[in-house]
């Protein structure tokens, strides 16, 4: 990684307000995420985590505010951002193979009258290799385990060649070993200089997994290193005392630091 381009932030969100009615889902959220980081978005249910993701993807029109990716507006930055959906959002019975799903990552670069070229096949193979799914190429996606399914979609995001990856709850409903395997792929992707933004629900692992955390509940409560974000006062404010388990968090954090 050269230091020069790293100066342009990967994602700049400025004064973002999004509403679906009288109560805004996001209110005045501003955050700047630098390149090459693994960032977790945390917050209680209904806090607007997925709204923020949708706003960064450009699916919801903000009432106010802007989102810039790598210095360009959303319209100009199409293709610089790849999205990995929640596992629940996919029809696993769809007649499609692992390889075909990964190839979908190349679709933005293939003209509609052409077939995928040799370079596209190479990129897809590399992406599958990177998530260690090459052996499952010709399998229909429904027969895979939860972690493997997640990895296929990460391969697709990698094949897109985007600099920013947006993942919606990749760790939901997988066992501890699978969680490690997924994290391993995330870290490998970060090592190639990509920026990864991950919606995450488990505060207990948040400190361990991410370089930066973003704590939101309608507003942005904190953005910074896990140690800055996971402090008792902030958490009890955001989770309104529904959180009893984190009395030990401070200690764990000191060890981590």
């Amino acid at each position: 990684m050269t230091t020069e381009p790293a100066k342009i932030p990967a994602i700049e969100v400025e004064n973002l307000t999004v509403s679906f009615g009288p109560r805004p889902a996001l209110l005045n959220v501003s955050v700047t995420i630098d390149q090459g980081l693994l960032v977790g978005i945390i917050g209680p249910n209904g806090a607007g985590k997925s709204t923020l993701v949708k706003a960064i993807l450009g699916f919801v029109k903000p009432d106010l505010g802007t989102v810039r990716l790598l210095g360009s507006s959303l319209d100009d930055a199409k293709g610089r951002l790849a999205y990995v959906p929640q596992r629940g959002a996919v029809d696993w019975d769809y007649p499609i193979t692992v390889y075909e799903v990964a190839m979908m990552g190349r679709y933005p670069n293939i003209a509609w009258w052409k077939d995928p070229g040799r370079q596209d096949h190479e990129i897809v193979n590399q992406a599958l290799e990177m998530v260690r799914m090459s052996d499952f190429k010709n399998r229909q996606i429904g027969g895979l385990s939860g972690g493997q399914q997640q990895r296929v979609f990460m391969a697709r995001a990698l094949a897109q060649g985007s600099d920013i990856l947006l993942l919606d709850e990749p760790f939901a409903g997988v066992d501890a070993a699978t969680e490690r395997a997924i994290l391993d792929v995330l870290e490998r992707a970060r090592a190639t200089g990509r920026t990864l933004v991950v919606v995450h629900h488990d505060l207990a692992t948040a400190a361990e997994y991410f370089d930066r955390l973003m704590l939101i509940k309608q507003r942005l409560f904190a953005y910074g290193t896990p140690r800055q974000v996971l402090n008792q006062d902030l958490l009890s404010e955001v989770y309104e005392g529904k959180l009893k388990v984190f009395s030990g968090m401070g200690k764990a954090e000191e060890c981590h630091a």
Binding site: A82, V90, Y94, M104, P108, I110, W112, R139
Partner: protein
């Protein structure tokens, strides 16, 4: 004999009406089935039904329009365009109703299409002096009376739809599979949806004159569903669906000749029977395959019983002796053994069974669960006497690592169960090079401390200290460990949990 075959198969082919039915039906079936693949993957089957019904209003409208303005009867292109308009209006109004109210999609479809359909029926009957449409023909179709104009309509709309699907295959695939990604890479998802709806309307229009309003949805989805049971790729599913569509038409038409029945009805009957056959025999997703899988899957409980009993005998055991211990039928027992040897858990030589390394590890794991459950049941007093063993025997099949570790910790990592038998150490924790709490370790194992609580522990223990585990004292509640200089340190349960070690040797 050849005469019968000739009159059953070849004779109909000489009839022009049969040839037209065959050609027209096949064209309609191919394009219906291909589009149908996308329809069933998008779960739009009901919408297909709705579109075919809504058409009648468009047909009547188109007919009236040309009749009144130009005084032409049954102007086919006008009726086609009318149907398309009616279909798109229906789709738009369905979307509108479900967007502005709490009424869900399927209800909105039901409301709007019956409304539009009823409008068409009323229109036709009010203007029956002007419109010479046979409602029954429209509802039931008449494949054996296909007119040339119908053939042209079918061929042209099939050509257009197939070209669109082939050219934009990837776009349709991506939007139907993952609309969110499709939108994120800038595909016009709404436009593609409308294109698909238009395609559905076109194929429905071209097929209605043959099989009728009621059956056309079957031609749209049944061959596609048959193909769905056989394919793992969308392109192959479409090709197979097209083949099944054509076989339905051919089979149905012959059926209708032999039985002298309605052509459309026979086609759909054949199509449905074809689906049922495929549902039964499909190699992966069919009922037979499912049943075979269930039959071949090994009952987990029996497998675990075999493992534990063999390990109680000491790894190698005579088969007859083992079977007496296990309360299952001989057949189930033999099948379980075969499956287990295939999975590499055991080997069988001259009627003797030997557990493999993997088999022993697995047996240990279950035995550990069993004995911990026994200890737990006695601990909470849930059962007594021989009941303890029986309850534990049922519960040992609850043996995921997390639950077993929880019991182990709750009971203070016991070494012996209530009957005095040794509870096997946890293989998942206690392997050379593995890292875990010191409390999991057993006498004779050696390890290196990698982490320990900042205060409260003995000053002789530090990160990097090499220790060998000694016996458990004080009714198994005190861990004794030896340092390299031979000195001895005693730890309580809490401290032993807090001291993390990397195991250097497990041989005792």
């Amino acid at each position: 004999m050849p005469d019968i075959i000739y009159s059953a198969f070849a004779a109909p082919l000489r009839e022009t009406f049969f040839q037209k039915a065959l050609i027209g039906g096949s064209i309609a079936a191919i394009v219906c089935s291909v589009v149908g693949c996308l329809v069933i993957l998008r779960r739009m089957a009901f919408l297909g039904d709705a579109l075919s019904h809504a058409m009648i209003a468009g047909v009547a409208g188109g007919y009236l329009f040309m009749k009144i303005l130009f005084n032409t009867e049954a102007h086919a292109p006008a009726m086609l365009i009318g149907s398309l308009i009616a279909a798109l209006v229906t789709v738009a109004s369905i979307g509108f109703v479900s967007r502005v109210s709490r009424v869900k999609d399927d209800t909105a479809i039901g409301i709007m299409y019956t409304g539009v359909f009823a409008g068409g029926v009323v229109l036709v009957s009010v203007f029956r002096g002007y419109i010479h449409i046979d409602l029954m023909h429209f509802i039931m179709g008449d494949v054996l009376g296909v007119a040339d104009s119908d053939l042209w309509v079918a061929a042209i709309s099939a050509g257009i739809v197939l070209s669109i699907i082939i050219l934009f295959f990837r776009q349709f695939q991506l939007t139907s599979f993952d609309p969110v990604m499709a939108a994120s890479i800038g595909l016009p998802v709404a436009l593609i949806d409308y294109a698909l709806t238009t395609c559905v309307s076109l194929v429905v229009v071209s097929a209605v004159s043959m099989v009728g309003v009621i059956l056309v949805v079957g031609l749209l989805i049944t061959p596609a569903a048959s193909a769905y049971l056989l394919s793992d790729r969308l392109d192959r599913m479409m090709i197979l669906a097209a083949i099944f569509g054509v076989t339905s038409v051919i089979g149905g038409l012959y059926l209708s000749m032999w039985l002298d029945s309605s052509g459309g009805g026979a086609i759909m009957l054949f199509c449905s029977l074809q689906f049922i056959v495929i549902l039964v025999i499909a190699p992966n997703y069919g009922m037979l395959a499912r049943w075979m899988r269930l039959r071949n899957s090994l009952p987990q409980q029996l497998v675990e019983d075999v493992l534990v009993e063999s390990s109680r005998f000491g790894k190698t055991v005579d088969l007859n002796q083992l079977q007496r211990k296990i309360s299952h039928s001989k057949a189930a027992f033999t099948k379980a053994l075969k499956g287990m040897s295939r999975n590499g858990l055991l080997e069988i030589n001259d009627n003797k069974l030997t557990l493999t390394e993997a088999g022993s590890v697995e047996a240990n794991r279950i035995l550990r669960a069993h004995r911990l459950w026994e200890a737990y049941i006695s601990h909470v007093g849930a059962a007594s006497g021989s009941e303890v063993h029986h309850r534990a025997h049922e519960l040992e099949h609850v043996n995921d690592v997390e639950s077993v570790d929880y019991l182990d910790d709750l009971l203070g990592h016991p070494i012996y169960d209530p009957h005095g038998a040794v509870i096997p150490a946890s293989d998942s924790h206690c392997s050379t090079g593995g890292e875990c709490s010191l409390s999991y370790l057993r006498e004779g194992m050696s390890a290196e401390i990698i982490d320990l609580p900042a205060e409260g522990s003995d000053s002789r223990l530090n990160k990097g200290t090499k220790v060998t585990i000694g016996p458990r004292r004080e009714n198994q509640t005190e861990w004794i460990i030896f340092l390299q200089d031979g000195s001895k340190v005693a730890l309580d349960h809490e401290t032993a949990d807090a001291v993390k070690v990397r195991i250097t040797s497990i041989s005792s």
